[in-house]
Symmetry: C2
Subunit: 315 residues, 2 copies
C-alpha cells in the first residue's frame, strides 16, 4: 500500500532528493501497476524476487541512485512461516546489500538505501515513551528480521558501500480498502468503516494507547530520507519516525470532530482478549528527537490523520 | 584458546550442568587436540566447517544436550575480509541454529546453546559504565555479526527451538603464548612478557581504562551458562559478563604487587596513535547486574587476574 502510494507520488511530481527523476523502476514479486506519470521520465514496472541473489544483482546493475526497500512478509505471516519470513525479510534485504557491495567494489557505486523498518524491533519491557538508544529486543520473528537488517545496513554504511537509513514506521492509519486479518487491522477499520456509514468492531479497551501516522506521512518519510544530505547522516541511522500517540478514546473523539457523532456511533465494543493481550505489548509513544532534528514531519494530531484519509483515500 | 581451556576443564572434571558428561565432541575447522580425559566418558575431536550447512546438520544429528559455540573469525580479520567474517561469524552460527530448528521440528530436540559474544556489539557513543538495555551500535563488522547472531538466537529461543544464552566476554587477559597481531594484544603482552623477564611495549597512555577477565573466568562463564536452570532464563539473555574495570596504571600496580617492581620496569612506553585511537572507542566498564543475578562470577580485582595466569599458564 505504501509502495503504491510512493510510486504514485513520484510519478506525479517527478522529483526526488530535489532532482528531477530520470527513471522510476517499480519491482515487486508480482508486477506492480504502473502509475500515471507526468511524461518527463520513464516508469518501468516488473516482477522480481530479491530472495534470489541474481535478481537482486540484476536490479542493482541498473545503478539506481536511490533504492527504497519496502518488500516484506508481514508480521503475522513471518510468525507462521519461520523460513519464509527470514528468506524474504532478511535474505532478500541481504541480497540487495551484497549486490550493492559488489557494485561498489567494481566502480565505486554508493547509492542511498532507504529501508522500511518497524517499531516491532522493540519488545517489552520498554518505557511508556521510547527514546533513541532504546535496545532492540524484538518479540516477533518479523521484528527480529527488521532489527538484523538494520544492523547489516549500518555496517555497509559504515564501510562506505552505500548511504543507509532505516525508517521505523509507526502503525499506519487509516489504511484504504477492505478490512484485513492483521491484529492491528481494527485501528483502521474502526475509523474507515464508520466513515463509509458501516459498523465496525473495537476489540480492545478505549484506554489503549498506540503510535500512529497516516499513509501520506509514511510517503513523506521515505521521500525525505531519500533526499537528506549525506553530510548529516551517521552510521546507525535507524530512526523512530514522528507520529501521534493517541488512545482509542482520543481517536474516536477525533472521528466525532472531523466526521460526526453518527460515525462514532457505528463502533461496537466487543472485546477480544487475544488481540487485547497482543496490543498491550506494543509501543505507546516515542520521542523521535533524531528524526525531528533531521527534518522528518508527521501529523501533529489525530484529526489531521483522519483529514488526510478523507482527502487522499475515502471512497 | 578459550575453547582449548574449556575442553581441558571438561575432560578433567567430567561434569556439566551438574551432570556427569556422557561424551565430549570437539569440533574446529582444523581437528583440535584431544585433551586428557578422566576415562569415564569418550572425548571425540574432529575437523568440521559449519559454514557448510550439511556439516552443521551432521553435528546436530548427534543431539548434543549442550552446544558451546565459540568458533569465529577475529575482529581484525572480519574487518579485512567482509565476506569471510559474515560467512563464519554469522552464517556459520545460523547454520547451527537452522540445524537445531530442523531437529526440533522432527523430534522436539531443544538443547542449551551457549554463544560466545563480545563487548564489540557496543559502539560509541556509550556511557562510561554500560548497563543492561544499552542499544547495540557496533562499529566493526565483527561486532555487527555478533549482534545479529544474538538477535537470531533470541528468536529461536523465544520460539522454543532451544535455550540460547549469549555471553559477552570482557577482554581476556593474560593470554598465554606468543604476542599476536590483535590491537588488544598489548593488554596481555605488557604483563606476560615482563613476567617472563622480557621487555614489552605499551602503545597507549596509562590512563586508558578497559574491561577484563581471565581465561579461567571465561571458562567459568561458559560452564555456568551451560548449567543454568531454564526456569531462570528469559528470551533475550545476551549477558554482559562480570569483569574488572582497570586502567593500565592499575594493571601495572597489580603487576608490581603480585610479581615485583622489576617486572613492571620492563614495560617501555611507546605511543602508537592508531592503537590509542581504536582503544579509545572501546567500553571502559559494565554494570553486569543481570549476569550477577544469574550467578556468573569473575575476578574481583586485577591482582587475581594475574594470579590466575601464574597458576594456570605461566611457563
Amino acid at each position: 500500500m505504501i509502495g503504491r502510494k510512493l510510486a504514485a507520488r513520484l510519478a506525479d511530481n517527478g522529483l526526488l532528493a530535489g532532482q528531477p527523476l530520470a527513471a522510476l523502476h517499480l519491482v515487486d514479486v508480482q508486477e506492480p501497476p504502473v502509475p500515471e506519470g507526468n511524461g518527463n521520465f520513464a516508469v518501468h514496472a516488473q516482477a522480481g524476487d530479491v530472495t534470489v541473489a541474481e535478481n537482486a544483482s540484476a536490479l542493482i546493475a541498473k545503478r539506481p541512485n536511490v533504492i527504497v526497500h519496502l518488500a516484506a512478509v508481514v508480521s503475522g505471516e513471518a510468525e507462521r512461516d519461520f523460513g519464509k519470513g527470514y528468506r524474504v525479510n532478511f535474505d532478500g534485504t541481504r541480497n540487495l546489500l551484497n549486490a550493492i557491495h559488489d557494485a561498489h567494489e567494481k566502480d565505486g557505486y554508493c547509492p542511498r538505501f532507504v529501508f522500511a523498518s518497524s517499531v516491532a524491533v522493540f519488545g517489552q519491557p520498554f518505557p511508556d515513551v521510547i527514546s533513541r538508544g532504546q535496545a532492540l529486543t524484538p518479540l516477533t520473528s518479523y521484528g527480529t528480521q527488521k532489527a538484523m537488517a538494520e544492523l547489516l545496513i549500518a555496517d555497509h554504511t559504515r564501510r562506505g558501500h552505500m548511504e543507509g537509513i532505516a525508517i521505523r514506521l509507526p502503525t499506519i492509519v487509516i489504511r484504504p480498502g477492505k478490512p484485513n486479518a492483521a491484529a492491528s487491522g481494527f485501528f483502521s477499520s474502526i475509523l474507515r468503516e464508520p466513515i463509509a456509514g458501516e459498523e465496525a468492531v473495537l476489540p480492545v479497551d478505549d484506554s489503549v494507547r498506540h503510535w500512529f501516522a497516516s499513509p501520506r506521512a509514511a510517503v513523506d518519510f521515505l521521500i525525505h530520507a531519500a533526499g537528506l544530505s549525506a553530510e548529516r547522516l551517521g552510521v546507525h541511522e535507524s530512526l523512530d519516525m514522528p507520529g501521534v500517540s493517541a488512545t482509542i478514546a482520543q481517536m474516536i473523539e477525533a472521528l466525532e470532530r472531523v466526521v460526526g457523532r453518527e460515525a462514532a456511533a457505528l463502533i461496537r465494543h466487543k472485546k477480544d482478549p487475544a488481540i487485547a493481550a497482543m496490543i498491550d505489548t506494543w509501543p505507546k509513544a516515542f520521542d523521535p528527537q533524531r528524526a525531528v532534528e533531521l527534518g522528518f514531519e508527521a501529523e501533529s494530531d489525530f484529526d489531521a490523520i483522519i483529514r488526510a484519509y478523507l482527502e487522499d483515500d475515502a471512497p
